[in-house]
């Protein structure tokens, strides 16, 4: 809506004179804002998120156990509640690198052959007093595994080498204490 004023010669003259007066010049550069890229909040936030993601990813990758151990952990999860003896004690002792005439450590809950990561494995779940439940896997043709340990998928895991032939055994337990006891029961004593 324009002002409803009847414009006359005076208005034309006023406009003409005003257009010649008050020449402001160009926009001073100091009035314009130029925030550097790194000073922008969005960029800072993105960098912080990226650093956190990278840190998280690096942490996850650092904690990630070998494939066969992850397969063993998954297997243990699905058979956690399974109980029974599905194989003889002596062959299982032999696969675990223990003397066949000795008793099975702890109170065995589950003994059975199974398949992990496409190969035959021997599965022992036993209750160790003052430690808790621990699951031991011996593989028929185990890959080269170093003696390491860690935490993955809400369980503690450890790779130890058997007493007799030094084959890698995979120990999985929900409590770290159980792993310590299992290590002394199944693993080679430190040199």
């Amino acid at each position: 809506m324009k002002p409803q004023i009847q414009e006359d010669e005076f208005d034309l003259r006023a406009r003409a004179e005003f257009s010649l007066a008050y020449e402001p010049g160009e926009v001073p550069a100091k009035l314009l804002r130029h925030t550097s890229l790194l000073a922008r909040r969005g960029v800072q936030l993105s960098i912080a998120v990226l650093v956190l993601l990278c840190g998280g990813l690096a942490g996850v990758l650092a904690m990630r156990p070998p494939d066969v151990v992850r397969a063993a952990i998954e297997h243990e999860y699905y058979e956690r509640t399974l109980r029974g003896n599905f194989m003889e004690v002596q062959p299982l002792l032999a696969h675990l690198g223990l003397e066949p005439d000795k008793a099975m450590p702890g109170y065995p809950q589950l003994m059975r052959p199974c398949e992990i990561d496409g190969q035959i494995a021997y599965h022992l779940t036993t209750f160790l007093e003052k430690g808790g439940m621990v699951t031991v896997f011996a593989l028929d043709h185990p890959p080269a595994l170093k003696e390491t340990s860690g935490w993955w998928a809400n369980v503690y895991w450890q790779v130890v080498h058997s007493k007799k032939d030094g084959k890698p055994l995979i120990l999985v337990a929900q409590q770290k204490k159980a792993l310590l006891l299992a290590q002394s029961a199944f693993g080679k004593p430190p040199a």
Partner: protein, 182 residues
């Protein structure tokens, strides 16, 4: 098109700087004060940039901010700006040109409220609704004030300036000169 707030602000500066600077200069009658006022205006506009809902009203909104900045330069008791680098009643205002233009000189002699409406009408040919927005008054008031302001401007052109500024009562905000903010 999506614009960041900084890009939008810079666009305001590019689009409205000339109008605001001319208006401030005409209202304060001092280029240096006008520069300060316009800078102050853009600083405040940046702080309140989210308050502008309708981008088509950016110019009246900026004028409104600038008008408040000008009032901060005015001594609230005397309604005049103290001390400065500018012309007084008898002389032409600092318009940036050497020629003495009657209308421009006369603009310096009308009251502040008339000067504001004349500046918006003649400098920018701003619609009544936007003038009302800029001056925070009703559109009907704009029309009546503009009519009175034109008459005041015409009368000011026919008036002869007083011989000595100190002996003559000055009009409200007629003598606008610089005061530096701390």
């Amino acid at each position: 098109m999506f614009l960041t707030s900084e890009a939008r602000y810079n666009q305001w500066v590019r689009d409205h700087y000339r109008f605001l600077m001319r208006s401030a200069w005409a209202l304060t009658r001092s280029r240096s004060v006008a520069e300060d006022v316009v800078q102050d205006c853009f600083t405040n506009a940046w702080k309140c940039r989210d308050q502008l809902r309708d981008v088509t009203l950016a110019r009246p909104w900026l004028f409104q901010i600038m008008r408040r900045s000008i009032l901060r330069y005015v001594n609230p008791c005397t309604q005049s700006i103290e001390d400065g680098d500018d012309a007084d009643w008898g002389q032409a205002p600092d318009t940036g040109i050497n020629d003495r233009l009657d209308v421009v000189k006369a603009l310096g002699r009308v009251s502040q409220i008339h000067r504001e409406v004349l500046v918006l009408h003649y400098f920018d040919d701003m619609p009544t609704a936007q003038i009302a927005e800029a001056l925070e008054i009703a559109p009907g008031t704009v029309l009546s004030r503009l009519a009175r302001a034109r008459e005041a401007l015409k009368n000011a052109m026919t008036m002869s300036p007083p011989a000595c500024p100190s002996e003559t009562a000055r009009p409200t905000l007629g003598n606008v000169t610089a005061i530096r903010r701390n």
